[in-house]
Symmetry: C2
Subunit: 236 residues, 2 copies
């Protein structure tokens, strides 16, 4: 869930498949650990049998992993389609309105604060080669990086899979313990420990203080579970 | 959910509060319409009373909106903290290792494909003013834009609120209709219509074909609901 604007590790530009994988796992696992946990906790205060909680939990994990996985797939596909249609358009514009496009290149260097003389030289050198010119426009006028075509499918599996793994952790005590409130105690302990560990590593990857990050992630999970518990109690 | 790499509207750089608001609503509404819908659909095939489905649905909406809203808040805060710590570091580096930092500026212009002469002139002009220099490093070496400090809090409310609104739509028939499978029929009709309309407008915002986008969003919702339904049937 959450718009994870995960910044790269400190002072380094990451954009390789291993960092993409970690990002996907973080996205899937964050919600997988939190939402099924909170749903199960909410129902624990309101129903008398764990089998119902397992049922609702599995339905939620299925729904959530598909929504996130397919959602990630479509987001990736959309990004790729969008990139390709813009690329085509830039090639056309460079042919049909070259002066306008040159003006836009110049504008970029003007905004960097370069002198008029250097602006003109840079424009001349960049627009000499059409591919270089279009690549420049894609990246600096439109702020678009070329997406990896395989990324959408991989992302879907990584996010969906992480959601399932994350979601089965809080649900697992309900498989073995009959009384909901007993199972809830185990689920709380196991899940908060996992959220803490997960938050620790997630924070290290995103370059913030890992202890403080771990506390924050754990508190979100606890808050969601507590709120779901009280809402279910009220509407019981 | 889903890593929404929503590209801006065609050929325009959006980064204002109205596009941020729309992006938040899209993130919250996507999952709000899909996951509670699929959970309720899943339970409809497996339990005999709608009151239980309402209970699970409300617990899920609570959990999901908090996880997404707080998740969005923390992501925003993390982004801001990270930006500020990197900014401080760049100011230090510009003081302590200016030659290294100049080399990095030059590298940027080299990668644009400019001649050595223009590279040197550009470096000289940018590194003349310390603020301009650091701003340049933040944006083009580290790829970081200055985040809006209020964005984290607004984002939390927008995403969480949209999740609640989205989630109450598929759940609403279960409030009024006693038998789960009857309520499910209404929920399917109402939600698929809403997903289609939502998908249409979402696609217009992200610049892809709105009809095709609407079909894709609707199919994801239907797939998640169908899968949850069958999983719940199996584990009934």
């Amino acid at each position: 869930m959450a718009n994870t604007h995960a910044p790269g590790a400190p002072h380094q530009e990451h954009h390789n498949s291993s960092s993409d994988f970690i990002k996907d796992v973080v996205i899937g696992m964050s919600d997988g650990l939190t939402v099924p946990f909170a749903l199960a906790a909410g129902l624990s205060g309101a129903v008398s049998s764990t089998s119902l909680i397992v049922l609702a939990g599995l339905a939620e994990i299925t729904a959530g992993s598909i929504a996130m996985g397919l959602g990630g797939y479509l987001a990736g596909k959309t990004e790729l389609d969008f990139y390709n249609s813009e690329l085509k358009r830039e090639y056309e514009e460079v042919d049909t309105v070259p002066d306008e496009e040159k003006r836009e290149v110049k504008e970029f260097f003007r905004e960097l604060g370069l002198s008029s003389d250097v602006q003109d030289k840079a424009v001349e050198e960049i627009t000499r080669d059409k591919k270089k010119w279009v690549d420049f426009m894609m990246k600096y006028e439109l702020n678009l990086d070329e997406p990896d075509p395989k990324r959408a499918r991989n992302s879907a599996f990584n996010i969906g899979g992480s959601y399932i793994v994350g979601g089965l952790i809080p649900l697992s005590p309900y498989f073995f313990i009959q009384h909901p409130t007993d199972a809830l105690k185990w689920s709380v302990v196991v899940t908060l420990v996992c959220l803490f560990i997960f938050g620790f590593f997630k924070s290290r990857v995103t370059g913030i203080n890992p202890w403080w990050g771990a506390v924050r992630v754990t508190l979100i999970g606890a808050a969601a579970a507590a709120a779901a518990f009280f809402v279910a109690k009220v509407f019981q």
